[in-house]
């Protein structure tokens, strides 16, 4: 059974004149690493808010269609019930941090579900270490940089070890190397522990290589869904404003000029470099 399934999901914010997502029908299997992309304002963030019930329970408005997450109808259950299953990392970390110390912020979710003290210590330390903020755990989340705040937001979700982690541009304020390290941690959790990951990103140069299931949205609708290699080589995907990874673009440009590097569209510099080395090395 799919861990997330939506059927004809359409949602309009209160006071808005048109829906933010329209007829969205998607299926995510347990253990998948799903990447959602699309032009800004296309409804990516709104869709994420549906996964843990923030839409419609917190935002109100009108939700039509069906949605099931971890076998639960989010329309009939509160957001706090969903929190055990789905962890959401917001786009703007300031919207989710509030405690007096980083450590307390990371422990907050666990306190609410009644985890024992020893276990809490263990899980909090693990999450702090994974995100590289153990050394600053006693500082206030409001006196650190935007990038560090994003690490805290990610740690507080990791500590809960949810079945599904939804990350909405989680590393936008981080420097590229730190962002890559965070993506590696998330990728490892996905591969080793089978946590289902939903990642919203514009920067496919950094993230396309992690995914096997790509969703491209435009104007509230799902425009493409499936194999990233196929979707990212389509001209239409580029035309709706998706930032195709440079390695993928270069592969396509070379193909047009008659240099065929094989059938596998590369998603990363490593893949393209290997193809080029094979094609251009002297025999």
């Amino acid at each position: 059974m799919a861990i997330i399934e939506t059927k004809n999901l359409t949602y309009t914010y209160p006071g808005a004149t048109k829906p933010s997502i329209v007829d969205v029908s998607i299926k995510v299997e347990k253990g998948e690493f799903v990447l959602i992309t699309g032009p800004s304002g296309c409804g990516k963030t709104t869709l994420c808010r549906c996964f843990n019930g923030l839409v419609p329970h917190f935002y109100q408005g009108e939700l039509k269609g069906e949605i099931s997450v971890s076998g639960i109808d989010t329309l009939k259950h509160h957001t706090y019930e969903m929190a055990k299953h789905v962890g959401l990392v917001f786009q703007n970390p300031e919207n989710q941090l509030f405690a007096l110390s980083i450590e307390k912020d990371v422990a907050f979710g666990l306190e609410n579900v009644g985890v024992s003290r020893e276990e809490m210590r263990k899980k909090v330390d693990w999450a702090l270490n994974q995100t590289g903020i153990y050394d600053i755990r006693e500082r206030s989340p409001h006196e650190i940089s935007g990038g560090q705040q994003q690490r805290v937001a990610i740690a507080s979700v990791l500590a809960m070890e949810p079945e599904i982690i939804v990350l909405d541009e989680p590393t936008s304020f981080l420097d590229p190397l730190s962002a890559e390290k965070i993506f590696e941690v998330i990728y490892r959790l996905n591969k080793e522990q089978g946590i289902t990951v939903i990642l919203v990103e514009h920067r496919l140069d950094l993230t396309a290589k992690y995914t096997d299931h790509l969703i491209v949205m435009d104007e509230g609708k799902v425009r493409f869904e499936g194999d990233p290699r196929q979707i990212l080589s389509s001209e239409e995907t580029r035309l709706i404003g998706v930032g195709i990874p440079k390695a993928t673009l270069l592969y396509q440009m070379l193909k047009k000029e008659g240099l065929n590097l094989g059938d596998k569209t590369p998603l990363s510099s490593e893949e393209l470099a290997d193809q080029l080395l094979e094609a251009l090395s002297p025999q």
């Binding site: 800004s40 304002g41 703007n92 393209l272 251009l280």
Partner: protein, 275 residues
């Protein structure tokens, strides 16, 4: 012209964010300030419009020392767009947000109307003219913040992480806009982590680490130096990554441009076939 001379800055919590920085930015230059989180990039650029004053050293903007001028006076010439748009937006509609500074600078109503319409159009926000900025997406709010500063046409523009949350098309528009500002001899300073954006624009790059400048030069030269970038927690642009791995074929390493990359590869293919 912006001249920072050996400036040091400590925050009230005693953290020294700048440890002796000297930098001159000429009129009409396009500079990208890069470096890892906490390197002091945002702290440095906040000195350029007087939001922060150096603890030690001097900052001069067009010859005037920032300690001898108010932020309000400096703002007319130096526009600043914050990293997080929510630190900057407060009006009830997008239109009012953009008109706010124009009113404060005392522009005539018909000029305000004209400038607001121009800025909305430039940043693809016309359809949101009467919408509350807080109903917009993160990427759109960022554009509202940018529009509100562009509207008063400052001669220097400082953009802290302008590409965050922006899709490919918006980034391309931003790039074109910056190029247009260049032709008008305007100065643009961006703070960014977006190596791909910098690779596409190829500006002067100033690399910072732990409150100091560690490199200053042409984008193409700095963005293809793996050791230097690792020191600053930056990864190579994707094209440079490919060319680093192609070194065994005798390819140059300093390639960041997609079209240049294509030409080099096609030439190599021809010479291989020719043999």
């Amino acid at each position: 012209m912006i001249e920072a001379t050996d400036i040091r800055y400590s925050y009230p919590n005693k953290v020294e964010a700048l440890k002796g920085v000297s930098l001159t930015i000429q009129d009409g230059e396009f500079v990208a300030i890069m470096g890892q989180n906490g390197a002091g990039k945002s702290t440095l650029v906040k000195h350029f419009n007087g939001l922060l004053k150096p603890s030690v050293g001097k900052v001069r903007v067009d010859g005037v020392e920032t300690t001898k001028s108010s932020v309000a006076a400096l703002a007319r010439n130096v526009g600043f767009v914050f990293q997080n748009p929510d630190h900057q937006l407060f009006s009830e509609t997008v239109e009012e947000e953009i008109a706010f500074a124009l009113k404060n600078f005392g522009f005539q109503p018909d000029v305000i109307e004209q400038r607001v319409t121009w800025a909305l159009n430039l940043l693809s926000l016309t359809q949101y003219r009467k919408t509350s900025p807080f109903l917009l997406s993160g990427g759109e709010r960022k554009r509202v913040a940018l529009a509100s500063v562009l509207a008063w046409d400052p001669s220097t523009l400082i953009l802290d992480e302008p590409t965050i949350g922006q899709d490919h098309e918006q980034k391309e528009k931003l790039r074109q806009f910056i190029m247009q500002m260049q032709t008008q001899k305007k100065t643009v300073v961006i703070v960014t982590h977006d190596v791909e954006f910098v690779a596409e624009c190829n500006p002067r790059v100033v690399l910072m680490k732990e409150g100091k400048i560690v490199a200053d030069g042409e984008g193409k030269e700095i963005l293809t130096d793996p050791a230097l970038l690792e020191l600053s927690s930056i990864v190579l642009p994707q094209i440079a990554q490919v060319f680093t791995k192609l070194a065994p074929l005798g390819f140059p390493k300093d390639v960041i441009d997609l079209y240049e990359a294509k030409q080099i590869i096609l030439k190599a293919k021809e010479s291989k076939q020719g043999r």
